[in-house]
Amino acid sequence: MIQGSNKNIIFGLYNDEEDLLTAVRAAQKNHLEIYDVYSPFPVHGLDPALKLEESRLHQAGFIYGMLGTLTAFLGMTWVFVKDWPNIFGGKPYWSVPAFIPITFEMTVLFSAIGMTVTFYIINGLGPGVKNTYLHDRITDDKFCIAFDTGDVSTGEAEAFFSTTGASEVHSKTI
């Protein structure tokens, strides 16, 4: 959610994730453009219902992982072959099997940290960042569908919320 975009949001709160899914499908059917959907936990089947594309986060993770592999492997190769060659236990300088565990760890570390940081940046999260939110209870027990009043008129939205059984309807400028 981008801060200070001055959007007038009208949103309805649902009590159950099944109601939310039905409502999302109804909105898609009526060509009402949904601004966003919020839920306290991942709702199974919500992504396909919203026709969201698959996240590319894991592709980024793969690239970070490969970077970790290369960093570790080439780094160790440089240190133990060129910069400071040492014989350990009668093994050759370029002892590939001994590099594998560290290469594996660095792959995991790079992809984990890289994906976490990317995830935080994409979602505008992070320490010290203040985000506005629509309603306290969407992090607790309510499921929310939000419309931008620029796309969907208030009347349409209210009619939609009452037919799909939203328990509360509010609006907020964010």
Binding site: H44, D47, E54, G89, P97, P101
Partner: protein
Amino acid sequence: MNQYTFTSKHRLSLYIAMAVGLLSMIFTWLNDDVYHTRFWTNLLHNSVFFMMIAVMAAFFLTASILAYAGWVSTFKRIWEAYALFMMVGLVLMLLIGLGVYFHWHHLYHWGDEAAVAEDSILTGKSSFLNKNWYFFGTLIFGGAWVFLATKLRNLSLDEDKHGGDSFSQHKSMRFYAAILLPLIGFSSSAMIWQWIMSIDAHWYSTLFAWYSSASAFVAMIALTILMIIFLKSNGYLKDVNENHLHDLGKYLFAISIFWTYLWFSQFMLIWYANIGEETIYFKERYNNYPVLFFLNLAVNFLVPFFILMRNDTKRKFGSLGIVAVVTLLSHWLDYFLMIKPGALITRNEAMLSHGGETHTSVMEGAHTGTAEAAHGAGEAIAHTAEHVSHFVSGFTIPGLLELGTFIGFLGLFFYFTLWTISKASLTPKNDPYLEESLHHHVI
């Protein structure tokens, strides 16, 4: 169409496969050395491979029952049938066990009493590595596995007919699964030590049972995927959809990585410690089987890792089927590498001690030198002895006869399992988890 009918067309193609296998085995027997080493190693290789696949099927089936796993219900009849293949595997392993008793073969160095008597290491191990343990261990443990797997299968069939809301059959399946799971988990390791690891009689590795079980586990998942693809393309198993395949694909992916982890752990510890009696296992394979040695590692790790990493490749017949075929073949190759090199050394040593009177110089080389010298000595004998042929093909690489034997065993495996599957409905209709499995959804 809930029940598979074993059509005459399917039977015929499996008969042909089995005939190919039988002919290959006969040809192998006829063109073999005096001990018929190639024949017996091929028999052992394929018997152990498919026996372990059946063992892993029983293992995973019982683990699923005990973990309250629901997703497997729609295709668990396949695993029940695979687990029952332990009957056939048991008969084959007992045949090899009888061979140890009556010296039909020289697969195991510890089976040679004269060699054990003058070898302090083998004497030390002889309380476990002996013909009685081999034969009766196989009989008792294998018999218990078969008994419990049959029990589970019968309960599952009974559930189809008389299952009710009390789920009494399912409750007793849980009871028997709780016995079979730890039993098969622990005792199969001991049997792997006997069946496979003791071929390299002086060598041992504490990771070996894990490693070869993981290998068989991957092959079992691959065969399950292939069986599902086969049944679905014939119009059966309509309830099994891409979500079930996705989860099986995850297992294929994950256990392949687990296998690589174990392969590498076993290798690296031995490489690092660099103790002669441990490194001999890898030295033999590295020096004399370099292509297979690295091909095995590369294919079994890289192919599933890179192809199955994405979501969509796990959900399609094509990509999943190709990976299943590749991993099945290359884990068969993995077993080849576990069995053939050691059996070849044993054969050569047996030849030196029994038939090497005219080759005194060769004998000296073998007794004073390293295994490499023994290997070279065996090679020298192979060139001079009349009966020894196919030294390379069939030992250092799988020849056509090995492939033929594999096709035969694959035919036998599919014949038995399809015949078992055809006996009952493919959908376990009173299984308490069936509804969960029908609605299984992973994305």
